[in-house]
Symmetry: C2
Subunit: 531 residues, 2 copies
């Protein structure tokens, strides 16, 4: 998706001053990104006085929108279909009911303190907006272990299906690459590309990077695997032999070893202590102080009552249809839900929404003894296996060394690998069978499965957006308001599927509403802001 | 240091049974290492009944020795020179006094909850012995963040002294290596080494590993750095240009980027919640139930009273010399301390001890605002800089996002870089000046420095062993008993400077004492064990 830049930075630059310069310097990569303290959004203090906004949808985007609009003095009503805030930011724990559209219900009976984040599960340290809100709202964070060198890779087609420890795959690959490059350089293959000095520098680097022996070859290293740990007395370290390069380079195999360097999967990552839903509950606590949120209030229709100002939103409450009027609406509901709703959106908006497709991610989690810690030294991190279904085993980062914990043994799209054709019981049996390939003998310890398939969850009907009706044009439509109706949600950002996107979209919506209000005031459509 | 193997595994094998087979399979790398549950040591239950042992030194080695001997029924007295257990496992916090041999005193007045581990600060997940004790003694653990892609590298001689984010150095290096290898392969340089299929596999791997563009070149990637984060609306991601290879390969620069793959520095690493000294205090709590530890009891001399059995140990208590007699002694004091003590060790032992040299590591820590989190997105991990002094900045893993924390800005040998020639005030000023190169403007936030230089700490006089009198022969001497006197400590292992070594040495000492007792009983030197 390529788009011209909205140029937030230029707008900041026009405002001038220190923060502008600072932002520019950041953009040039000269200074590190500022983190973790949410800056006031770009709008005049008190701009919202006397202006009303309905926010539809209490996921992270809607919560941030409402929270920021409240700060600016707007009269805000947030309509949330469910009895809880957070949308996809949902943590299953004792007492949670996961109910599908077809009425299938799962009741979570895990031990108190155990939870599984059914939606987002990670906060990268580079996601400074959502982290900033965690700081502002005092949400305690702990490390989410995204990388563990002890976690595994398993592919039915390679190494006879035997799992390989990630430290081995990753460091043996590096060793083989280093050996081959050193050999090429010594053989003169890069003489026209590199100066004598750079060849020497690179060879010296590769000796440590590989690491390579004095003979220029890779013979394994402690990084990749130790068959006898060093110990007391005469117990010396004994290094494992490297994996053979041919199998290691099987494309079926290595894809799993490269995930950890993606910018939003790099260490350090975090999670709220006690479950990801601590974030929406922290927003809700603030908003409840002003009774901003109406729960159990699914929106049924919305329409404009003026060209640039004025909306009428209907919603259900206690079995009765209610109507609320406001100056503006911020539509922070998922597109599959908006699509089914009576509305008077303009044609390009309807096209973008009606033609949108969504991913259908699911998560499957169990309560289990922590065999992965006791038997495998695995503390957090992810094991990757193939072929699917159930290509991921995600080990918990919380409560290390407790007796039991929650293990996620499936996280992918339900339309892959024929997963959607299986009954729930077949899914659970399949997941256990696949786990046996990685952790033989341990599937019997998996108990009390909970599966959340977002395609089947009311008020979501999908996990995250995959494409827009009309493609890029559809996206460019949705990021602009349709008269008095603005859009928010990770689907209005380039950070799809992350709370960072949702929260940035909420801030942007609050800014855009405020720009509109400012313009309208300048055009005389509003009474002046009270002193 | 190359030594023949004491062959612990073979001994296990002789005992036979499941555990033996399992251990052998582990040694062959077939099964993952068992973790985290300390197995009973190899000795008969109750073997110690009626046998007395004095353990000298209440560091981790001495604590484990005493703890395991107690389990086996021995009558154990642990003599500890200080008023606290743990030896080098020492955490400074409010109320701690760091006193040097010359009488210099530093009083720690940090806020409650703040601490700095002055000795060991990390528990690798592969250190299964010490982790096993944490589990057994219910020491709560949390993640110690050893790797953060947002931490920095800084070298006065490279890039004009400007710090570089580790994600950039690491991933740009990988990109350059991949590009050069891909070019070599395409140019035919490895045609005699690789089959056509393996060349294709490697090229395909390098495209993702680099990652490389369609042109086979490395153009930077999100892994290495983003100059504009993706955001809401039209804010797309913009990738930074790669660092030039010539500077990146400056040997002064890259050494810091490779630390994280060392087997005992790999993720996941852990730390006790509240400070590393929670471990020795947990052992002490158990041992205090049987009043095993005598604190404030520095040993002043020891001697044998029989060839294979019988020791007499003198120590000070309340200003008076006390004598204790026992069947055996386990000497778990640092060698520089044993060296100064009157003793009747045999000549080879004296030579090994008297000729031993120790490293002189220090740690320097401050209480500070958490500017590294707020301004740099750095949550834990280490920054490396050069040249020294103060080549390491170690960011805290505990209490992420709190306002203040403890920052370690120096951890290296005090005899490097002329550090030992500086007064304390000069050391603090130098550390601040060096920090300015990495975090300009922030040295003023560093307050209340505490420095622990182990060479100057009574009852230690060094940080960890560097060499033995007589070299390997000296080591081989010390790992065997001198008549009734056995040795424990990380200096009797191949895991020097780690609690894993200390705890393995304690287990081994308990095993060796028990083997001796068993032999003596078989030779009729003991009454039979009571039923």
């Amino acid at each position: 998706m390529s788009m011209t830049r909205r140029n937030f930075l230029m707008r900041v630059g026009q405002a001038g001053g220190y923060s502008a310069t600072f932002a520019t310097m950041q953009a040039l990569g000269i200074m590190p990104m500022k983190a973790q303290v949410v800056k006031p959004i770009e709008a005049q203090a008190g701009v919202g006085k006397g202006v009303s906004v309905v926010v539809a949808g209490g996921g992270v985007a809607g919560l941030v929108t409402a929270y920021e609009l409240r700060k600016l003095g707007y009269k805000v009503t947030l309509l949330e279909a469910r009895s809880r805030p957070g949308g996809r930011n949902w943590s299953a724990r004792n007492g949670t009911t996961v109910e599908f559209i077809d009425g299938t219900k799962q009741q979570c009976t895990w031990e108190p303190g155990h939870y599984q984040n059914l939606g987002p599960g990670r906060l990268p340290s580079v996601h400074t907006t959502i982290l900033g809100y965690c700081r502002e709202l005092n949400v305690p964070l702990e490390v989410e272990i995204n990388t563990s060198r002890s976690s595994l890779l398993q592919n039915d087609a390679v190494y006879g299906g035997k799992p390989v420890v990630q430290r081995k795959a990753l460091n043996d690959a590096r060793g083989h690459v280093s050996e081959l490059l050193a050999k090429s350089i010594k053989g003169g293959a890069l003489d026209t590309d590199l100066t004598k000095e750079d060849k020497d520098r690179m060879l010296s680097f590769l000796r440590t990077y590989g690491p390579l022996g004095f003979d220029g070859k890779y013979h394994g290293s402690d990084r990749a695997g130790i068959k006898q740990y060093p110990g007391a007395g005469s117990q010396t370290m004994q290094i494992e032999e490297p994996l053979d390069m041919h199998s290691l380079l099987d494309a079926n195999f290595w894809s799993g070893i490269l995930y950890e360097e993606a910018w939003d999967w790099q260490a350090t990552m975090m999670q709220p202590v006690g479950g990801m839903d601590r974030i929406p509950y922290a927003f809700a606590r603030e908003l409840d102080k002003t009774k901003t949120i109406i729960y159990n209030a699914p929106v049924t229709s919305f329409k404009r009552t003026g060209a640039n100002k004025g909306v009428e939103v209907t919603y259900m409450q206690n079995g009765k249809e209610q109507v609320i009027k406001a100056d503006y609406m911020v539509n922070a509901m998922p597109l599959p839900i908006i699509k089914k709703m009576k509305n008077d959106l303009s044609a390009p908006y309807k096209a973008a929404i009606d033609g949108a497709t969504y991913a259908n991610s699911y998560k499957l989690a169990w309560e289990s003894n922590r065999f992965w810690e006791k038997e495998y030294n695995i503390y957090g991190g992810l094991t990757f296996r193939a072929p699917g279904p159930t290509t991921v085993i995600w080990y918990p980062s919380a409560n290390l060394m407790a007796d039991k914990g929650i293990l996620c043994t499936g996280y992918e799209d339900e339309l892959n690998w024929g997963w959607e054709k299986l009954t729930l019981e077949e899914k659970f049996a399949t997941a256990k069978k696949q786990l046996e390939k990685v952790h033989p003998g341990h599937s019997q310890e998996l108990t009390k499965p909970i599966i959340c398939m977002w395609r089947h969850i009311p008020y979501n009907e999908g996990s995250w957006i995959r494409s827009y009706g009309g493609g890029d044009a559809g996206y460019n439509t949705l990021i602009q308001p349709d008269g008095p109706i603005f859009f928010a949600g990770d689907h209005t950002t380039h950070v799809v599927g992350w709370q960072e996107g949702a929260s940035q979209s909420g801030r942007r919506a609050a800014e855009m509403v405020s720009e509109r209000v400012k313009s309208a005031r300048m055009a005389g459509h509003y009474a002046p802001v009270e002193a």
